[in-house]
């Protein structure tokens, strides 16, 4: 259903990819680890590999978490936009099919946060 308006109403999205100078906006969440209380947003070049993203950006944001040292890339279950997904860690975001405003999340069975509380 379209919007009801008093006249022509057509404006470009505020966050269109053209505004990111060749980069993309990406979100990432470590499931059951809510000490950082929201999924984080990143501005990234689309040719960074998923592994580099995790090592250089994601992990340092969570280095205060006691379970970080137990993280094992081989055991992660991934989703892309909340659908099951099997990425290749050493491929770029682009080659993994990650696009502007994509939402990644991963869960490692057995890691359920401090005292199993999802934190």
């Amino acid at each position: 259903m379209g919007m009801v308006t008093i006249g022509a109403y057509d404006f470009p999205p505020a966050d269109r990819i053209e505004n990111y100078g060749g980069d993309i906006n990406l979100y990432c969440c470590w499931e059951h680890h809510l000490l950082v209380p929201c999924p984080a947003a990143y501005r990234l070049p689309p040719d960074i590999t998923l592994r580099d993203f995790l090592e250089q950006m994601f992990k340092p944001d969570h280095d205060h978490h006691p379970e970080m040292k137990l993280l094992d890339y081989a055991k992660l279950r991934w989703t892309l936009d909340s659908k099951p997904w099997q990425p290749a860690l050493d491929k770029s975001l682009r080659d993994n099919g990650v696009t502007h405003m994509s939402y990644l999340s991963f869960y490692q069975p057995g890691l359920d946060g401090i005292a199993g509380s999802g934190v």
């Binding site: 308006t5 505020a14 499931e31 929201c38 205060h64 909340s82 502007h100 405003m101 509380s117």
Partner: protein, 512 residues
């Protein structure tokens, strides 16, 4: 001949009806161009009934009396250094949030009602909106006046306009009202007067303002209740608009239901954020958010909707989700404030032990199982000298603009997120409620000015990190921002109280 005195009803009719006319040299549709395009059909504007029969002379009389009372109390509060009698200076975080987030909404409401006060072709509705526009301006002014006293002694009160257009947490209330103000006049009045004021503001203004009294803030108590007495007129305007529109034509029912669904959810999301004021910012507690939700929504709100069911209106969509979330959202929101307070013009802190006990008592297993462990972990980090602050921008909901701290209602360990695609672009949301609103109006919400995205696009003075962004907000750690217990406000508070910490030490001290 003895003249019979007119009854209130007759007097009201004589003084408020027949003041309007059908235009002759311009068509009515050109004079009132905005009150038909929403598809709302009005057959007879004369069926409009004002719930309060308050004529203009009576309105001025009672408003003047309220003002005199209010300013007498504000004067005495400042002359007696009332700020020193607050329970604890932590309390002021709530008042800073009010000044920065709520007072600008009063002004926005003034603008919105001035606009729709011109747009309805029925004179009764126009007059009611114009009176409300005056009330809202009064609220903005009396609040700023009351807070100006605190501005002499505490940080965070001095640059509301600068903050309003820049701060991430203020884009939430700002975008809420801008959504309403850019809608048609019927949607505006349904959103603000009905969904927000009638259904939801009691949740904040009654228990929180009562809590302000309990924590020694006579100034806020007085303007808060003085404003709320105007609100009770506004609420009845909201209910009248809804009933009037529903009685006019059956085609109006689905349109009104869509407005009610949308604005219940938007209002709930906005208010839930300030539910933290009751659970975390009042050092002496009055009522929990969950209890307030039980009284003002589950009792009073459901009674209202039972009454509206005869018009074919059902309960707002996702109301049952809101009720399930009552045990979680204030804790989750406070976690965001606690971790992101380097970029806020208010302070946050870890709840004191007596407050943790109070939260356990009010929220039971929910708090002990899911939220206490977080606070304890943060406490350990504080003890180790590593007070945790987030350094990354969050995912923010495209509709409500709240950082997505929400979890799935049936699994509080699982991050909640929803997705939609429109014209080949991805959008993300905190909930089904917010996603539905976007899907109905993607042309509007695709333009949302979302703070993290704007920062990353270089529109926040070139800032890329939270620290650079805070500098652009003109928020300094220890002055406007950061943890309360390392702030100037706390240091000054100790100095003014002979180095005595006024933080209550037991939950007994915190009970009424």
């Amino acid at each position: 001949m003895a003249v019979k005195k007119a009854s209130l009803k007759e007097k009201y009719r004589l003084m408020t009806r027949g003041l309007d006319w059908e235009t002759t040299y311009q068509p009515m549709d050109k004079v009132f161009p905005y009150d038909k395009y929403e598809g709302i059909k009005i057959k007879d504007w004369d069926k409009w009934e004002d719930p309060f029969r308050l004529t203009m002379d009576a309105y001025w009389k009672y408003q003047a009396e309220k003002e005199r009372k209010l300013y007498a109390i504000l004067d005495s509060f400042s002359q007696n250094n009332g700020q020193l009698n607050l329970s604890d200076a932590r309390y002021l975080t709530a008042i800073k949030l009010w000044m920065q987030g709520i007072t600008p909404l009063e002004y926005a409401a003034h603008r919105g009602f001035s606009h729709v006060g011109r747009q309805f072709r029925g004179a009764g509705a126009r007059v009611a909106c114009q009176m409300q526009a005056l009330d809202e301006l009064r609220h903005a002014q009396t609040q700023m006046h009351a807070f100006s006293h605190y501005n002499k002694y505490f940080s965070g009160f001095h640059q509301a306009n600068h903050m309003r257009d820049r701060a991430w947490y203020l884009s939430i209330p700002k975008s809420f009202f801008e959504d309403a103000m850019t809608a048609g006049p019927f949607e505006f009045v349904t959103s603000i007067s009905f969904a927000f004021e009638y259904v939801l503001t009691n949740l904040l203004f009654m228990p929180f303002v009562s809590g302000a009294a309990y924590n020694g803030d006579v100034a806020t108590t007085t303007f808060g209740f003085s404003a709320q007495s105007d609100e009770s007129r506004h609420m009845t305007l909201g209910l009248e608009v809804v009933k009037f529109v529903l009685e006019q034509h059956e085609d109006n029912v689905p349109i009104m239901q869509r407005y009610i669904d949308k604005w219940f959810w938007r209002g709930y999301r906005l208010l839930a954020l300030v539910g933290t004021m009751m659970d975390y910012m009042l050092p002496k507690k009055v009522m929990s958010w969950a209890e307030a939700w039980g009284v003002y929504w589950e009792e009073n709100g459901l009674a209202l909707f039972n009454d509206l069911s005869r018009y074919g209106i059902r309960l707002p969509k996702y109301h049952e989700i809101a009720t399930k979330e009552k045990l979680h959202i204030t804790h989750q929101a406070w976690m965001v404030f606690y971790t992101a307070c380097p970029a806020t013009a208010f302070h946050a802190w870890l709840p004191q032990p007596y407050e943790m006990d109070w939260l356990s008592e009010k929220y039971g297993e929910t708090f002990d199982r899911f939220y206490r462990p977080r606070f304890e972990k943060f406490g350990d980090l504080e003890k180790a000298g590593k007070r945790f602050y987030t350094n990354r921008l969050p995912l923010v909901c495209q509709t409500c603009q709240i950082p997505d701290f929400f979890t799935e209602v049936d699994n509080p360990m699982k991050q909640a997120v929803r997705h939609s695609e429109w014209r080949g672009m991805k959008f993300n949301f905190c909930s089904d409620g917010c996603k539905d609103i976007f899907v109905n109006e993607p042309e509007k919400f695709c333009q949302a000015y979302i703070p993290p995205q704007q920062i990353y696009q270089g529109n926040a003075g070139g800032a890329r990190t939270l620290a650079e962004y805070a500098a652009w907000l003109r928020c300094g750690m220890g002055t406007e921002s950061g943890d309360y217990y390392s702030s100037d406000d706390y240091a000054n508070w100790l100095k003014w109280h002979g180095e005595r910490d006024t933080t209550p030490s037991s939950s007994a001290a915190a009970q009424p």
